[in-house]
Subunit: 215 residues, 2 copies
Amino acid sequence: MQKNEAVSVSVVKRLPRYYRFLGELLGSGVTRISSRELSERMGLTASQIRQDLNHFGGFGQQGYGYHVEALYSEIGNILGLNHGYKTILVGVGNLGRAIATHISFETKGCRLIGLFDSNPHIIGEMVNDIIISDVRDLERFCREEQPVIAVLCIPKQATRDITQKLIDCGVRAFWNFSHYDIALGHPNVVVENVHLGDSLMTLTYGVKNNLRQTP
Amino acid sequence: MQKNEAVSVSVVKRLPRYYRFLGELLGSGVTRISSRELSERMGLTASQIRQDLNHFGGFGQQGYGYHVEALYSEIGNILGLNHGYKTILVGVGNLGRAIATHISFETKGCRLIGLFDSNPHIIGEMVNDIIISDVRDLERFCREEQPVIAVLCIPKQATRDITQKLIDCGVRAFWNFSHYDIALGHPNVVVENVHLGDSLMTLTYGVKNNLRQTP
DNA sequence: AATTTATTGATAATTAATTGACAATCCGCA
DNA sequence: TGCGGATTGTCAATTAATTATCAATAAATT
């Protein structure tokens, strides 16, 4: 790491996308790439790519470009994808179930170790090799297993309470799909709010106004 | 609408969040609110809220603030939530099914009118009152029904082809959940890429570096 | 009705993000 | 081994986004 100023959110949000594109290049046998060529593929400027990467270190070489495999692995490390953070998911409804089965937690630095719901009809069921536990066991489980990340796929009304409970048990990060912004009041916690509804409304605005969105 | 300069993406992306908060206020019986109070609830500056809203019109009144119901409805109109754009969903796997059942399309300006998949085991099944059709009927359906928006919950490899097909049939907007960036090459199309994997990696980065993310 | 208070809308100032430019330097080749 | 072409890393310039300020004005109060 080169500079120790805080890296801006805008830069961090682009890292996964770099990682994804580099992964594809790697898969198709490309071993080196210049910032210019990558910029064309990704729809960015070459300058931005070089600027972004140099927040973390000088990974390229003049006259050559970037070694795809090395850069891919560097970005993976920067993102922390090798950590396997213990992760639980609360709320195994339609969406929770889909997240549990569809997302590759392992390749994103997470390890899914527990599923929780309040619905007695599904407690005990297996989803993706993990048994659905009663949400009443949530706190005991957390004190024993000390998960770091919680995925919340629960109704809006339940979110505040569950969040507070989990924080009290030591959970430090939330991937929140509920219609509620986890935010203020919980300063020492990492939150990524995924508001699918907001995303769809943005699309609707785009349709109405004939715009193109940026990724 | 006051100014006719293009409104920036940053502003548009905040509109759904305003809409959500105003909806909650409305639900809890609040009839008026000042930019300052709303800013405190939302974790923004009052200045930003006033600035954002004034891109679309002067909805407030000096010495009073904003009438919650009126502003809620204004933002709904700005977003186009009353249009009921015809929408189809392609790929009724775990995630597609969850989206189809979990998202309230109606309240986001969309009307879900078709589900498509290639898996013969699920074709014919009903999901949320809509029958799953064979993806081979996709083009005929689109020429007949002229959907405007397509939700894509399909594998990466299939995305490019399906997208092109749909564009050829007149689909103008994509809500894309596949691991692929619909973007370049399709300039006259509105795209909202939802990369859940990217979002989780961003969270992992936050955990590793003990950051707080912004919404 | 006049006065005070609150709060907007608009503009200016500031800060942040992106893009451009170029010297430094590394690769590839003769 | 030295030379030419390519491409980085860095810094400066530019553009975009956010925040602060304040006159204008409407509501509330006296």
